[in-house]
Amino acid sequence: MESENVPSSIVQFAQLDKLLSLGRANSLWPMTFGLACCAIEMMCTGGSRYDISRFGAEVFRPSPRQSDVMIVAGTINKKLELAVKTLYDQMPEPKWVIAMGNCAISGGPFKVKENYNVVEGADKLFPVDVYIPGCPPRPEALLEGIMTLEEKITGTRRWPRV
């Protein structure tokens, strides 16, 4: 993904890089950061029916320092803007962002001409890796989002391989 734009270095660590990205992809710890309705579906994904723990991603860390992926699950408004940005900055590299739900993608139902308080999309604040549409998206969609992120990290899809 990234390598398409970055010039290749003289010394290649292909196998090592692969190992690193596999390790990272299998241990995506999200941050406990529920904003609105989508947060409930995020909790459902952690529940026993959908069980995000199968992918090693059930370790919801409350501190941004220990999390790898920030699931923006809900609406960001003007008052919260700064807090979300700070949280993103507090996360150590490498870090990823999943925009879960229409509000985090574009402002969703609040993107109207009367809008005075809602930030229209998380990507106005920081780069977003995976967008999951839905209002709110189903837990399966979040799982798919996690798998898409894994695909983005490793370059191969976990399941089903296509």
């Binding site: 003007k78 008052k79 009367e114 005075y116």
Partner: protein, 173 residues
């Protein structure tokens, strides 16, 4: 004496009931098309609970609201909400208070008052009903109604540095 009657009597002491007659407006809106319209202009009036969800409709002025609040407090009512309604045509902002009762059923007192849009000032009732504190801050936030003597009249829902009143009818971002 039922709660509604005693509330009505208590309010009557503070705000006497009055009605004004306005001549009918041929192009007027609404269902009533009678030649002379009797409009409730001050004090408490019983209304149909099933239809409007309120049992008493109270009209008063900004100066009277504190006395009304004391009267309602004496009748053991609790504060439900405070809302603002913007009437740009009349150049007024209306503040609507609703109170209800824990024990008696079907009691809801709606207190309405109007202040000029250019200088919306209403005395706070947060000293009587502590819960009014946040509701008043919200009304200030949305409509810019200034509640005098309020202990902490700052923005509650909008960012602290916001300089607009979003729910006024003429506001458009």
């Amino acid at each position: 004496m039922s709660v509604i009657e005693s509330v009505k009597a208590a309010i009557e002491k503070v705000v006497p009931f009055s009605e004004t007659v306005i001549p009918a407006d041929p192009a007027g809106e609404g269902e009533e098309q009678q030649p002379d319209q009797v409009v409730h202009s001050a004090g408490a009036k019983e209304v149909d609970f099933a239809k409007t969800g309120c049992s008493l409709d109270v009209l008063c002025t900004a100066e009277q609201i504190l006395d009304v609040a004391h009267a309602l407090d004496g009748e053991q009512l609790f504060i439900e909400s405070i809302a603002g309604v913007d009437w740009p045509k009349e150049d007024q902002i209306e503040v609507v208070y609703t109170f209800s009762h824990f024990q008696d059923s079907d009691v809801r007192v709606m207190v309405r008052l109007r202040v000029p849009r250019s200088e919306p000032k209403v005395p706070t009732i947060s000293k009587v009903f502590s819960g009014a504190d946040w509701h008043e801050r919200e009304t200030y936030d949305f409509y810019g109604v200034e509640f005098t003597d309020h202990p902490n009249l700052i923005r509650i829902l909008l960012p602290e540095d916001a300089d607009f009143y979003p729910l006024r009818k003429d506001y458009m971002p």
